[in-house]
Structure formats: C-alpha cells, structure tokens
C-alpha cells in the first residue's frame, strides 16, 4: 500500500453528436437565440497581415464528406503572437491585437456538400517554448480541433502553408512526423489565382491519406 495521489482524472469525453451546432453555432442549426454567436470572426478587417481564405472538406474512411463536423481554429496573429495572457514570448514587444482579432473561430461546413470555408489572416511564425522543446521557431500554422458524430474525443491537428517551404522544413512539429507523405497531410496548397488567395486543405479521418492527428 502507498499513499493515494490526489490528482483527479479529467471528465471523460463523449461525442459532440450530429447536433453540435445547436449549442455552439445555433444560427447554423436554423435558429436565432443569442445576441452574439461566438467564434464567427477570427480576424476582422482591422487585423493586420495577409488576408487569406481556407477551404476544404473533412472526409471519412469511405471518402464521404463529414457534413456534421464542427472545426475550431486557434491561431497567432501575423506577428506570431497569440491573443492570450500567457504568450509572453517577447515581453518588450507590444503585440497588435485590434478588437476584431480573436485568433479563434468556429467553422461549419455546408450540410449537403461538406465544404467548409473561412477567412482570416495568415499567422506569423510562433516561438516554440516549453520542456522537451528546442526553442526553435515554429512555421506559421493554424491549430484545428474537430468534433462530429462518430468522433469520441475531439481531434487535434494543424494546418501549415505550402508557400512556407523553408519554415516548414525547419518546423519542429512537422519534423516529428517520420513519413514525408504523412507530413504532406498537414500542408495546405496555396492558390493565387483568386483574391484573396485560397489555401485548400482536406482532412482525412482515415484511409491511405489519413491526416496526422496529435495528442497534445
């Protein structure tokens, strides 16, 4: 026998189910209830940086679009700073956070086609800090969290940018992915033929092109 540890286990997860929009995006579920829905704007017009659009689908193991998914995005601003009190990576520096930059948003696909699309600004490189890390800079990326019917515990992944070839090659997180093919699952392809430029990013839950998901 030994002393009992006081640490309490986390409340177990359950699937968000098909009607997650009622709670987190009621407008998409088909009704107006709150004066202000949360997570609708990641970076508004006052936010500095290159304006971009991200477009894609989440696909299941049979190749069918996951039409009931809800994605949350969490990102740094164009200077690579998170809008959060613990981002003290450069204490002397005044980050630029206009009132319309939250860095967080909720993305809902078209319920018929599964195509999602959102606008934001391209984030800057983020310092990597913490134990077991290298102190190197992380390539610009979006942090994504996916929930849907059939997903028992929300899935964490990242989206990187195809035009950041050098930064991606030096990125410590991408560097942890052994297979170069799997690394590619996190890199969105830039399309400059439209304005603003679009990054195309499909997320595969399963199958030959399965996206890399993280235990963070």
């Amino acid at each position: 026998m030994a002393q009992k540890l006081e640490h309490r286990k986390e409340t177990p997860s359950q699937t968000a189910g098909p009607y997650v929009h009622i709670g987190l995006a009621p407008g998409a579920a088909g009704f107006e209830i709150f004066e202000r829905e949360l997570g609708q704007v990641i970076a508004g017009p006052q936010s500095k940086g290159e304006r971009i659009r991200v477009e894609g689908r989440v696909l299941d193991g049979a190749g069918a679009p996951v039409t009931d998914v809800l994605i949350e995005v969490w990102q740094a601003n164009a200077q690579g700073r998170y809008n959060h009190p613990e981002d003290t990576s450069e204490p002397e520096f005044e980050p630029d956070f206009p009132s319309d930059f939250s860095g967080w948003g909720r993305v809902i696909p078209d319920f018929e086609t599964g195509v999602f699309s959102f606008e934001t600004v391209k984030p800057g490189p983020v310092p990597e800090t913490g134990p077991g890390t290298t102190g190197r800079s992380q390539a610009p990326h979006l942090n994504l969290w996916l929930v849907a019917r059939g997903i028992n515990l929300g899935l964490n992944t990242r989206m990187y940018f195809s035009d950041e070839v050098e930064a991606n090659a030096a990125d410590p997180v991408l560097g942890r992915i052994e297979s170069p093919g799997r690394r590619q699952t996190l890199i969105a392809m830039r399309d400059d033929t439209v304005d603003p430029p679009v990054y195309r990013f499909d997320i595969h839950l399963q199958g030959a092109s399965e996206t890399v998901f993280f235990d963070i």
Partner: protein, 245 residues
C-alpha cells in the same frame, strides 16, 4: 528569434485508457470516422497552452436560462430542473471564467435542428441551448427542462438516454472538452452504445449527475449536480530550455 520567457507548467497528459477510444464498433459511425494511425504526441508549445478567453460582455443576461431564453409567449413544456456544478482542474483548483455551453433535446426528445426529423414535436418555447461563465469558485448553474429520450438509427433498438451536451473551455486549447451529462437512475444509460464507448464504469459514473434535493427550488424545480474536471497542469514554473538549438 525572440528569447522565450518563463511560462506556467505544462498540462498533464490525457489518459486515453480513460477516455473512449476512437474506434468503438458498437457505435457504428465511429467505424469510418476513427483515425487508424496512432496520435502523434507533441511537447506543449504556446500553440497548445494558450486559447481563446471569454468575458461577461460575450454573453447575454438570459443565456444560462433555457426556460426563458427562447420563450415566445409561454414556458417550455417539461420537468423544470436546475443543473449546476463546479469546474475544477485535475489538481482540484477551481477554473474561474470557463465558458460552459450546453445543448439538449426538448422534453419530447426532439432537437431544434434543421437536420432532426424525429416525429416528436418541436416546442415553440424551447431553443435547447445555453451558456455561462464559471464564477471565481468554478461554479456554474443553468435552468432548463429535463430532456426526453429519443431513438436513433444505430440499431432498431438504440435509444439515447436523456442527456445534456456540455462544451468546455479552460485556459488552454489543449483543455478543450465536449461531453454529455446523464441523469441518475436512468435504465437507458447502461444500454446506450455511446455511453458504452467509455471502457471504465468509474468513468461512466463521472457523467451521471445525481439528484440534488438540497439545491432544488421548493414548488418550482428539481436540481441535478454535475461537477466537471478539466486537465490540470504542473504547479511549478519552468524556464525554457535556452540551451536548445
């Protein structure tokens, strides 16, 4: 390259033997929606230990009151209840200012959603969603009606036990959690394929809210208590490994 300053301790690892696994064949939708490759473990960086913050100005005065927040000239039909509890972290510390969002079916088991076609009636006075922030002591409270059970097409005998969906933010994106609360004494809990995605009965018990007569409101509402634990973090500060390359 900026010199990183000290940050708070990292969050304790998720216990994947405690949470439901991704592939749970008795819950059929998980079969094609579960990643087959192992999750890649990452050391936590600013991307994981930061997250969105919310304040009182984000919410309206009735957001936590599902009896009133979608009332169109009357009260919703059903058993009036209070659902309340406390959000703490794994170290037992309260999590103040946590955004708690809930959604649920109405008393007949019907959701107000364009994709729900169950034959039970929509309640014109019930939206079925609410939200609030935890207080300084981590406590939260909602007023609502008890949701009904409903059938779902997993199998011809699959019924969801009455439940309320909960979405939680702590202070970090890696604490993000969605779960479901069930009601003490319900025989449908043990039969539910979604409940049974959780392997450990002790973990299932953590999702079952007991009737809390002490918190009930006489001649008005029963109460259920649902405490929630988010991932805790190391209490010690650490300095970044500046010698890293």
């Amino acid at each position: 390259m900026p010199t990183p300053g000290p940050i708070h301790g990292e969050f304790h690892a998720r216990d994947h033997a405690w949470h439901p696994p991704a592939l749970t064949p008795a819950y059929k939708t998980s079969i094609t929606r579960s990643p087959a490759q192992p999750l890649l473990s990452l050391p936590q960086t600013l991307s994981e230990i930061t997250g969105p913050t919310f304040g009182p100005s984000d919410l309206g005065p009735l957001d936590h009151d599902l009896i009133l927040n979608y009332a169109h000239g009357g009260d919703p039909i059903g058993e009036r209840i209070i659902v309340h509890g406390r959000v703490t972290d794994g170290n037992g510390r309260p999590v103040p200012g946590a955004l708690v969002e809930v959604w649920q079916a109405n008393a007949g088991g019907r959701y107000r959603h364009v994709k729900d076609t169950y034959l039970a009636a929509i309640d014109p006075n019930f939206g079925g969603c609410g939200r609030c922030l935890t207080g300084a002591d981590g406590t939260y409270s909602f007023r609502t009606i008890k949701p009904g059970a409903y059938p779902w097409p997993n199998s011809t005998t699959s019924w969801r036990p009455p439940h309320i969906h909960f979405s939680l933010f702590g202070t970090a994106f890696c604490q993000r959690l969605i779960t479901q609360m069930y009601f003490e004494g319900d025989p449908l809990i043990a039969l539910c394929p979604i409940v049974n995605t959780i392997p450990d009965p002790e973990a299932v018990a953590r999702l079952v809210a007991p009737l809390d007569m002490a918190a009930s409101k006489p001649f008005d509402s029963l109460a259920y208590r649902f405490d929630i634990v988010l991932r805790g973090r190391r209490s010690t500060l650490f300095e970044n490994r500046l010698e890293g390359n």
